[in-house]
Amino acid sequence: MHEQIIISGFGGQGALFAGQVLTYAGLKEGRNVTWLPSYGPEMRGGTARCTVTLSDEPIGSPITDSPTVVIAMNPPSMEMFEPRVKPGGFLFVNSSIVSTDSTRKDITTIQVPANDIAEELGNERMANMVLLGALIRATGVISMKSATVALEENLPERRRHLLPLNEKALRQGAEVVEKVARG
């Protein structure tokens, strides 16, 4: 396995944290992992993204211009990364706020109305976990169990009470994929 996953969105959407959960879960499953943020004077409202590498081999470059999986949480991320997904790869689109569709036939695109689902759950900030749940279900790069363990061990103390909600968001994201699969 050698997966390079880019999660990209506005600052505050939780792209970096979703990447950390993925990275931590990968480590739990015995993979080599790296998590590289795009860093800058970016706070809420700016752009934030990270590249996560999960591999069975020692990791050389932690950066890539052809990721195997992309989560596009907002329109600029869609514009930037949709063309770069490696053929055969996956693109997860936050269809609540991204209105454009991918024209590519050589990748699997999955539309996830992540903000809508998160709002129904009562907290719009769960959109990142909805998308991560969809990613896990569709790609199998980590197991759902590892993701929940990673959440348990990484949610900061002050956010602990949100653990059940985060887990619910992961499951709802997975269900989106299951519905697509059922047609």
Partner: protein
Amino acid sequence: MAKILMKGNEAIAEAAIRAGCQAYFGYPITPQTELLEYMSRRMVELGRVFLQAESELSAINMVYGAACAGARVMTSTSSPGFSLMQEGISYIVCSEVPAVVINVMRGGPGLGNIQPAQGDYFQMTKGGGHGDYNVIVLAPTTLQEAIDLTILAFDLADKYRSLVTIIADGMIGQIMEPVELPEIEPPQRPEQPWALTGAKGREKNIITSLYLGGLPLEKVNLRLQETLEEIKGNEVRYAEYMLEGAEIVVVAYGTAGRIAQTAIKEAREEGIPAGLFRPITMFPFPYDRLDEVAKGVEHLLVFELNAGQMLEDVHLATRDRLPIHFYGKMGGVVPSPAEVLAEIEKIASPQRGER
């Protein structure tokens, strides 16, 4: 021991703590600020010294003072801050006291930006401050290597009574990956009869970098050069990757070395016999080993995140006996493995055409 996930800046800080760093002085600057923040928490917990100075000039002179008193001491900064520290570094070197400086490089010149870069290579390996000196420069690629080299830095600083630097960059500072933190016994440091510990019951020690009149300063310089020769003899370090049968060898260090490694693996999959030579000590530079490696190959490709600085050392090592190509990006731009691979392919394609 279980591997834990750490951010680069924090991993370097924790390594310094485990190496027995007794005092840290610094001033915040992106992309190394987490290092200082980590120290501000942990050093205080451990009852050691943490002090945020009012500037980098002040921080390096505090390092100088603590080093004179015999403490295991370090500071960390990023490029513009490293420039500000040059005067103090020159004083520390002339005074022959041990200290460690971490430079998490960012895009320059000037205030530049906060992205990863390697533009401080000349400054770090060729002196940087005034006067005749060099310092040991260690270049990590992964976080595990950053931890190991940080620990080594303190030991080398003690061994040669000199300043040792780590040449890192924003990517190493910001990346998270799994690391193993070694459990270290309290460090066995060499005796420090020179340290300023209060002259009770002994002759007073004098540490200075001021030697008026010609001859005493010449003597100091000769001793410094002698130490540098010893360092060149003992401390050259490098890593090699897929050199067997390689016709094109990429020379790269740090983050660039890591990106090159992936490009080389992909080149090999395409049937291009490429390999990597990665210096770990940028000073002392592995001239002899690179010369030997170059004897068996057709092309060298130097890849750096700058305009071609280590390139000069590669020319020196090989005396231009073979074609030396250069690929680099400046100003905090980090090329992808695909871009480096394209450079390798360019070099390979006429050769492959001949066959």
